[in-house]
């Protein structure tokens, strides 16, 4: 089963990379961008048929390594192919 994990910075954590990308886009002519935050995605293929079990494994991975819960939030979902 294929899983997608998205890790983003929490709302009140400063994102200097996101700000730099936002201002670069504005300079390129992409106006009206209200906010831009950078994050990470992970595509994980696990040998698991049960979606619930797979998702709970992915959550465990997030809490133990993929995200730093002091500054980051995560979301996980199964991807149907």
């Amino acid at each position: 089963m294929k899983l997608q994990v998205i890790v983003t910075l929490k709302k009140d954590v400063l994102d200097p990379q996101g700000s730099a990308i936002k201002s670069s886009l504005s300079n390129m002519g992409f106006k009206n961008i209200e906010s831009l935050r950078q994050g990470k995605t992970f595509e994980i293929i696990v040998k698991e048929k049960d979606e619930k079990v797979a998702l709970s494994k992915a959550k465990d991975m997030c809490e133990k390594l993929l995200a730093n819960l002091t500054i980051e939030d995560y979301s996980v979902k199964a991807i149907k192919e």
Binding site: L14, P16, Q17, A20, L65, L66, N68, T70, I71
Partner: protein, 224 residues
């Protein structure tokens, strides 16, 4: 006193820190990250560098390496642990120290001499410095911007856990002399118990006159 310096793939200040420790009379062994056993040590040093190429988040993969279980046990028993630069990042990722180190606010890798004020000289790592003295030590990092919630910062202040703060040459803690955007100009903290110390400046790079300064040696001299 006996020290162990942990070597991760990508550590690059490990030998420098060994030379500094031995210069000040601390017998030092190098310990590979994949080792299962920590030699008998009073102090563990996590050196600077780019462990695992800074993949995922700086220090995150190193914090899960085999030897870190032993380092965590050593710290829980009250053993001394000092993390310099990438070592500080490993300590926050291992949750041996609170907070987190994020990308420098100006998005630049900063490599220069800076000055820090010793806000707390009553630690195992700063006892040979005077309170509020100013030390000139180099920094070299891309992710040194210390971040923590307001509650945590209050707690750090209440418990006197903030040890080093970026300051100007006269010791004033101002925004202009904050190189990386750290909250409260934090450059180094200890845990509540006072046996784990993390700092972004590199004292091993200021421990010999040939390197242009001796201020970092006060940290090594304090370790006795």
């Amino acid at each position: 006193m006996k020290a162990s310096v942990i070597v991760f793939p990508g550590s690059n200040c490990d030998r420098d820190v060994k030379i500094s420790l031995e210069k000040f009379g601390i017998k030092t062994s190098m310990v590979w990250h994949a080792d299962a056993k920590l030699p008998k040590s009073d102090l563990v040093v996590l050196p600077g560098g780019f462990s695992y190429g800074d993949y995922l988040r700086c220090g995150s993969i190193a914090s899960k390496s085999r030897i870190m279980k032993e380092v965590i046990t050593h710290s829980k028993k009250g053993g001394l642990v000092m993390g310099i630069c990438n070592g500080f990042q490993v300590l926050v990722e291992s949750q041996l120290l609170p907070g987190v180190l994020i990308r420098n606010i100006n998005l630049k890798f900063i490599c220069k001499n800076i000055t820090v004020k010793v806000t707390n000289n009553k630690t195992n790592f700063t006892s040979k410095t005077s309170r509020n003295s100013v030390l000139e030590i180099p920094i070299a990092h891309n992710e040194g911007n210390y971040f923590a919630s307001k509650d945590l910062i209050d707690e750090l202040e209440d418990n006197n856990q903030i040890v080093l703060q970026y300051c100007d040459a006269a010791g004033n803690i101002t925004e202009q002399c904050n190189p990386n955007g750290s909250i409260k100009n934090i450059a180094g903290i200890v845990n509540k118990k006072g046996n784990v110390f993390g700092l972004m400046p590199h004292p091993e790079r200021a421990s010999d006159e040939l390197l242009g300064g001796m201020d970092g040696s006060l940290i090594f001299k304090s370790l006795k």
